[in-house]
Amino acid sequence: MLELREITKRFGDVLANDRVSFAVAPGTIHALVGENGAGKSTAMRIAYGFYSADSGDVVVDGAVRRFASPQDAIALGIGMVHQHFMLVEPMTVAENIVLGIEPGNALQLDVAGAVSRIRALSAEFGLAIDPTARIEDLSVGQQQRVELLKALYRQARILILDEPTAVLSPQAVRDLFAILRRMREQGKTIVIVTHKLSEVLEISDEVTVMRDGKVVGNRRTAETSAAELARLMVGRDVLLRVVKPEGHPGKPVLAVRGLSSGALGTKDRERRLDGVSFEVRAGEIVGIAGIEGNGQTELIEALAGLAEPAAVTGTIELEGRDVEGLSARARRAGGIAHVPEDRHRRGLLLDFDLAENSILGADDRPPVAVGPWHLWLNREAIRRRTEKILKAFDVRPPDPDLPARSLSGGNQQKLILGRELEESPKLLLVAQPTRGVDIGGIEFIHRRLVEMRDAGCAVLLVSSELEEVTALSDRLLVMREGRIVGEVDPARATPEEIGLLMTGGNAAA
């Protein structure tokens, strides 16, 4: 029904798609998997007419097609839900759906007609949504349904979903999968892009694996396994489970009591901390699970000293010493290291080279800074330090003179982790450590976090990847709307139980 033949696409020096070929059978759910940067999104955007291929053909219903724009693909019944939603936030659901193909005439938009058609479609596919609601008032899961409705309204027969589950809670993923199955029953064909193998096995009929821009395998889902798919994705055997010996927690390193922060943004319901109290002991990993935007960012920034001091109340103690009033730099000197969630904004200076990036935070004291008042940078010491980090953390390519921008996400993250661990911190704050990191890199980073724990460091881990946070943590706290709403034993709790805490029992969120 939809087929890619020998698709090649280059972005500058990057060969994003290298003779990519695969076919999607009508009425099936086809998974496209691969690590970050494997070229999945590029291939799908070509199938949707968003990019044009350098060479190769897109074949729909047996005929070779040329797409000048997504409009041509849409006309053939292809719809796409992008990784980042294409929605206009202040407008209503109905307005977003009809945009570009407005019913009525030039002088009058037929809103009522659109609303009733959307209601009919929602009912047909089980996509509960109010057409008159504003996008900005909807949860991420609901926004995704709007994207699906947008495609269905344009009479899509083939739906492409790019990483649809990345932003969803476990309940919302389950709901989405139910919707997708229903669509398949109604005769739709679905291509789902993901890098989560459990989801591939659960939802798909067939699976295509990509690595480094090439297709490296096609399997019927029933005839493959997570281990085989992982091996295809990475090109070698990988450890899918985190190996973690029994922990030996020592005395408390971090004690947080009654931590609150005022309304910092416009959507203040989400952007606050509300009486957060917990402890992290030496030699343990405490995980924080929760749907993004429920206060995790604010918590980490408050602990790292990055929040507006006036907006924060409560106490933060590091080994019994109050650090509340201290600046970020003073907290670092006191033994707090921070691997931030947004490595491009907070973690790196992208246009600086690896050597410069590896001394951030250590730039005002020996051995990096020397001489009277530490006015000079010791280039030799910087070089030695950088090379040590690059080697120990397997950063590739290990060239101190490259700009940080040129590294892949995984290597950037390893550089940050290496820099932060160089100072042998007492407390490590890590947020979303493996976001945008390839499977090989994930394995490496997980191993390092467990090693730090075993070396007696207290680790506070925030992650929206439920699998990650349950596998790594010794204790797991769940956050919702700025509060800690529960603590569970990560070895025993099911994803459903944790998901229920995350959403407050509201499965639609």
Partner: protein
Amino acid sequence: MSNILIVSLLFSAIRLTTPMLLAALGGLYSERSGVINIALEGLMLAGAFTAATITHYTGNPWVGLAAAILAGALVALVHGVACIQFKADQVVSGTAINILFLGIPALLSGAFFESTGATPQLPKGQLIPMAPIVLAFALVPVTWYVLYRTPFGLRLRAVGENPEAADTAGVDVSRVRYLAVMLSGALAAIGGAYLSIGQSSLFARNMSAGRGFIALAALIFGKWRPVQTMLACLLFGFAEALSIQMQGVSQIPVQFIQLIPYVLTIVVLAGFIGHSRAPRALGLPYQKKR
């Protein structure tokens, strides 16, 4: 204060609001589509000068008005080409137009009328004192309707908020923005024409006196919405009317009283701008990816 005084204050306020309202509504179209239009001031001057000049030569203010509309749209097209096609900085482009139209009328009036910036006085019969007022206020509900009830309005809002989403949905982003920017030039020019062939009877050097900027302030204060923008313009219009009326009666030096509308602009913007949310893509050129 007597009733007569109040009534005359009211009329004076409405007259003073008119050019600002036209420019502000023009700015609304442009900015709702994502293109900053700091050039309103220059566009008003272009309209004012063209209207007075053409009316002088043809003796027909309606022809003058039409010429002003054309001139406004053309000058705005230059701004559009710079910002949309060449992705220039929108503030810089707008500022260039403002500076240009401080100079051009002086230059041309020198060539046409051997004056240093003014056009010849027009007879009373060749003025249109009422029509622009009616038009300005009628355009408020019209703009509201266009914005919220027509496909063009939907696309306009979408393009100003999230051009990538609009593009994916099949909306021609550049086309919508060009239309919006030219519309804004036309409306600002009508505002300018009212100054020269409505309120007074000639073009005088820099006769807009910052009204284009105040219109921009009103647009921001009015949260880029038609009715609120009109109310904001009325507020500034009243302030100006009041300051004019006070000049005759109070002891305060004239210069201070004349400051009132401008000080009010600053106070209002400083006090309220935080609560106003601009179209998200305002000022950002759109680059299609291929």
